[in-house]
């Protein structure tokens, strides 16, 4: 089935006007400078997400992963570009399709504590939205919630508890159940396992995989943990300073990464080993998004920097030999290309 992707992002952009601090403001006033600087949290992102696929997004803190996820799930409006939902631009949807879209794309948040209302009982946290949206009659709410809780591996007997009475892993399951309650097709996981320790993380990751199999879910999986992403994703996009710098299926990324940033990330990947190792970090830090470097945004930290990188920003191009090809048997859709934004051959 090579049907249209369920979600497509076209030149999606999100700017923030940084609230300037006192000194900066006075300075600007004195210098009679123009408007306050703009942060391009997400800049010109193009991406297709096929139904049933798990897309992993990796990048450093502040590179715009969350912003992208929030735009996808409709919490934040994009500044520019558009999101296509089943081929239709979201901005142009009529009320009912829009509603459908809002319910179809759900989000799971990083912090399993702050993302659950501390003053609501589990039954309300999970059951509120479906009742409000008329998916479930009020009378059936408890039964519905109980079903969902069972599905995510929680004992329905605990439905009248508050979220703080659960352990981190259980809390994250509540978050999952809440997202599932609206029968979504796409789930945006924003660092959904980052706050959990390894043993709980394994439980939740297994749950994600199981649900995917059972419900045919599509995941947009944001994480800075390459290990997690490699475990769960079909395809991985690497973000740097608001842009996707490399995207390919997981195996390609982990075996034949092209972009120097991706390579550096992979080198960082902590792994079990029995020998002492020497850590060699990436030079420098993520540049300020307020004042991004000219040319390739990665050039100040890149080991292979060339003069050209400082002036010309590389476009995201399909890698030679990384053209589209059909996926292995059993999986639907077309395998997208391996793309990278680097001047290196």
């Amino acid at each position: 089935m090579t049907g249209p992707p369920i979600l497509s992002l076209r030149a999606l952009r999100r700017d923030y006007v940084q609230p300037a601090d006192l000194i900066a403001r006075i300075g600007r006033m004195l210098k009679r400078a123009g408007p306050p600087p703009v942060v391009q949290a997400v800049a010109e992102v193009d991406l297709d997400i096929a139904e049933g696929e798990v897309v992993g997004i990796v990048g450093e803190s502040g590179c715009g992963k969350s912003t992208l996820g929030r735009m996808l799930s409709g919490i934040l409006p994009p500044t520019g570009g558009e999101i296509l939902y089943k081929g239709q631009p979201v901005a142009g949807l009529d009320a009912s399709s829009r509603h459908r879209y809002a319910l179809d794309v759900q989000m799971i948040f990083q912090d399993p504590f702050s993302s659950l209302n501390p003053r609501m009982r589990v039954v309300d946290i999970i059951g509120e939205a479906p009742v409000v949206h008329g998916l479930v009659p009020r009378a059936r709410k408890e039964a519905y919630v109980a079903g969902l809780m069972r599905k995510v591996g929680l004992d329905p007997a605990y439905r009248f508890r508050y979220s703080h009475q659960f352990s981190g892993g259980q809390r994250q399951r509540i978050g999952v159940a809440r997202a599932l309650a609206l029968n979504p097709t796409v789930i945006v996981c924003d660092e959904a396992v980052a706050a959990l320790d390894v043993s709980i993380q394994a439980q939740v990751l297994n749950l994600f995989m199981r649900l995917r199999k059972e419900l045919g879910l599509t995941y947009f999986f944001i994480s800075h943990n390459l290990g997690v992403v490699s475990h769960i994703s079909d395809r991985v996009a690497i973000m740097y300073l608001g842009r996707i710098v490399e995207i390919a299926d997981t195996d390609t990324i982990f075996s034949r990464a092209h972009h120097p940033y991706t390579q550096a990330l992979l080198a960082e990947l902590p792994s079990l080993r029995t020998d002492r190792r020497s850590f060699v970090p990436i030079r420098g830090e993520l540049p300020s998004p307020l004042d991004p470097p000219s040319g390739c945004p990665f050039h100040p930290r890149c080991p292979h920097v060339m003069p050209r990188c400082k002036t010309q920003r590389p476009e995201l191009r399909i890698r030679p030999g990384g053209e589209q090809r059909l996926l292995p048997e059993g999986q639907a859709g077309e395998q997208p290309a391996h793309m990278s934004a680097c001047h290196l051959p």
Partner: protein, 351 residues
């Protein structure tokens, strides 16, 4: 009921403590920087005593790096705080022996303790966003750490701060001194916290999950710097984490904690390659990676039990795939190999 439990666990601890505290019997105590035996830290709450640390024994040589691993709530941080004598009431520290650098930590006066903290033994906390006081400038917070222990002019102190900041890889350190913490990124702050820990050139640094809140690239940098520092200065380090993958490349030795006890300890390569305790197996196997892709991860079912009123016996029995009737008895710590001990009736590498 509760008192009986109490008694029992202390008894077993005491009886167990003698034979197995020093797994590496070759080690001489003079050589040891840190020698802890039977450390018990309990929180006396209205509901009962939370035994957060329940008979932990640790030895550390000068310049040695120890990885303290375990899941959330297993008592890793409290162990660290107990060493620093930083447990707030209602917490109470008891130990059979608690020697640091030849001195008895238990009999120190509060003023001696204060001097010991920060000067001989320093700590780095998990959350870089919270460890620096948001209302004070970086220099204030650094200089006070120096002036708390020695009479030093502000100018000299500042000079020293700049040096240390440079050492932890902070560019243009003199300027960074003048800003407030919120102007800095998480990684920067954590490096400043590390710099503060290093200011007085302590002999032991306890790093309590210092990279958990940071992302990969920053984590890499911090690991790099810590490793470099330990090599250069010969400082001993206790690195607390729940992720074996992080410490496996760093630590000389590992100690795996569960429910307030150390369940397995040994050289890093021994533990990674030949883990004996089922809990350690779980920790190792639940790490996701490219190899595990598509497959179900091994998972330890359930979560850490409440340390309040733990049922008798092996605390891991309810989650253990090897548990059987024997587990209602608390297993002792026993050597499996020189320098490698585990606390389980069903020791053995995973099939």
């Amino acid at each position: 009921m509760q008192t009986i439990n109490d008694l029992r666990s202390t008894q077993t601890d005491a009886s167990v403590a003698q034979p197995d505290v020093a797994p590496g019997s070759s080690r001489e105590s003079a050589d040891l920087l840190l020698d802890i035996q039977g450390l018990r830290t309990g929180f006396h709450t209205r509901e009962g005593v939370v035994k957060a640390v329940d008979g932990v024994s640790l030895q550390l040589r000068h310049g040695e790096i120890l990885g303290l691993v375990g899941e959330s709530g297993s008592g890793k941080s409290i162990t660290g705080f107990s060493l620093m004598r930083l447990v707030d009431p209602p917490g109470r520290i008891e130990a059979d022996r608690m020697h640091f650098d030849g001195r008895d930590l238990l009999s120190m006066s509060p003023e001696e303790c204060r001097h010991m903290r920060g000067r001989d033994m320093a700590m780095i906390f998990q959350d870089p966003m919270m460890t620096l006081n948001p209302t004070l400038r970086v220099d204030t917070q650094m200089i006070e750490a120096l002036q708390a222990h020695e009479r030093i002019s502000s100018k000299a102190a500042r000079q020293r701060c700049v040096e240390v900041l440079e050492k932890v890889g902070i560019p243009s350190p003199a300027e960074r001194l003048l800003v407030y913490p919120h102007h800095l990124s998480g990684g920067m702050r954590q490096r400043i916290a590390i710099a503060i820990a290093l200011l007085n050139a302590p002999r032991l640094i306890i790093a309590d999950e210092p990279t958990t809140a940071l992302d990969v690239t920053i984590q890499g940098q911090i690991l790099y710097e810590v490793q470099k520092l330990c090599r250069e200065t010969g400082t001993a380090l206790i690195w607390i984490t729940h992720d074996l993958a992080v410490v496996s490349g760093l630590a000389d030795r590992l100690a795996v904690m569960y429910a307030g006890r150390i369940v397995e300890t040994g050289l890093t390569e021994d533990i990674i390659a030949r883990a004996q305790h089922p809990y350690t197996h779980g920790l190792i196997a639940s790490i996701p990676s490219i190899e595990t892709r598509g497959a179900e991860l091994f998972q330890i079912p359930g979560s850490t039990p409440s340390l309040l009123n733990l049922p008798p016996g092996c605390p891991f029995q309810a989650r253990c795939y090897r548990a059987d009737g024997a587990c209602v008895e608390d297993p002792p710590m026993e050597d499996v190999a020189p320098g490698h001990a585990a606390r389980c009736w069903h020791r053995g590498v995973q099939a």
